[in-house]
């Protein structure tokens, strides 16, 4: 696996115990984008995720122990950055994202020059796979993020995200460890980076269950809200001190 050309693209698939879905995800990506490398980052799964992904033709980055979603995704970003890739698109390993939406995200990344493109479930109306509590949480974060980002974001919790090399450089050094999507958006915005949203479809999970239960949703809201405000304060403080371009660990 290596980066080639100014439009080199890597698809990363963070996976934890996704043996029932990850093979299908990899095959569908490879069918839609022949010749594009697919990297499955295995977060120390206890099942056959690695062999399922390898049989489907993916490169594997096995983590030595379980890091959680943020640490898992950041490992993929770090490898992509070291290998010189210009663009990285993250696809979840549970099969909810439709690989046919990847070219639209990639095209938007290339043509607009923005640092991040979010595959949004809500640009074309309501997503029927979102539960009630989670839907409330998403609406809440839309309201919270609107003044911080200075523009509306329809799907701040989407894991279907593409980034260019500038964002990749930032995320390689600093990336939230838990529930990273919303905080990552704030981290980019505070650096004056731009994001776009493109409509994408979401399906039911191919296998397994979501790790975010109704109870965890409440913790999620508290945790992410705290992370958002910490990031806002951290970056605003740095701007006031006149060191807005320095980087920090996450």
């Amino acid at each position: 696996m290596h980066a080639s050309g100014p439009d080199s693209l890597l698809i990363i698939v963070p996976a934890f115990n996704e043996q029932g879905a990850v093979g299908t995800v990899v095959r569908s990506v490879r069918a839609c984008l022949p010749g594009i490398s697919v990297l499955v980052i295995d977060d120390c799964s206890g099942d056959n995720t690695i062999s399922a992904a390898r049989q489907a033709g993916a490169e594997i980055l096995p983590l030595p122990h379980h890091l959680g979603l943020g640490g898992c995704v950041q490992a993929g970003y770090k490898l992509a950055y070291e290998l010189g890739f210009e663009y990285v698109i993250r696809v979840d390993g549970d099969g909810q994202h439709d690989a046919r939406d990847i070219p639209r995200i990639f095209e938007t990344l290339r043509t607009t020059g923005c640092e991040m493109v979010i595959g949004s479930r809500y640009l074309n109306g309501k997503d029927q796979h979102t539960g009630f509590v989670r839907g409330l949480g998403i609406r809440f974060f839309r309201l919270v993020l609107r003044p911080i980002l200075g523009r509306p974001v329809h799907d701040p919790t989407s894991g279907f995200v593409g980034v260019n090399r500038r964002a990749l450089g930032v995320f390689s050094r600093s990336f939230p460890l838990e529930y990273p999507e919303i905080e990552a958006l704030v981290v980019l915005q505070r650096r004056r980076f731009r994001f776009e949203e493109v409509p994408c479809s979401v399906r039911a999970r191919l296998a397994g269950r979501s790790s975010i239960t109704a109870m965890k949703s409440l913790y999620y809201i508290f945790h992410v809200l705290l992370g958002v405000f910490v990031n806002v304060l951290k970056f605003d403080g740095r701007l006031h001190r006149g060191a807005g371009h320095s980087e920090t660990g996450g």
Binding site: M1, L61, P62, L63, P64, H65, L67, G71, Q74, A75, K78, L79, E82, L177, G249, G250
Partner: protein, 117 residues
């Protein structure tokens, strides 16, 4: 009051013993045992030196000494818990970075081996 002070003394001595035993057995590193030893010694001094406890009570403006002892103990342990939270946070960040680096190095090593073979 005397019974409370005696119980605090016994608790402090017990804590000193456990911490020193743990350090000797290498269950706890010396740098992390210092906080516990300091807390145990502080509680021992307060419980065995009534003038010191009275001075603390006056300083805090509290009506009685047991409350001053309770507040001193609580404050010491809260500060220690906070300190350990800071240490754990640093260790977690380091641990994640290290695990990622190991994974990346293994990946590069495998690529080199595949390239050579």
């Amino acid at each position: 009051m005397d019974r409370l002070l005696n119980v605090t003394t016994a608790f402090s001595v017990l804590m000193l013993g456990i911490v020193l035993f743990s350090v000797r057995r290498a269950h706890i590193r010396v740098e992390y045992s210092a906080s516990w030893l300091g807390a145990a010694v502080a509680m021992l001094l307060l419980s065995r030196t009534p003038p010191l406890l009275d001075a603390l009570r006056n300083l805090l403006g509290l009506p009685d000494s047991p409350l001053a002892l309770f507040m001193a103990g609580s404050s010491v342990f809260l500060i220690m818990f906070f300190r350990f939270s800071v240490i754990i946070s640093h260790l977690r960040d380091d641990n994640v970075a290290l695990a990622q680096r190991v994974a990346l190095l293994e990946y590069h090593l495998r690529s080199l081996q595949d390239h050579e073979s």
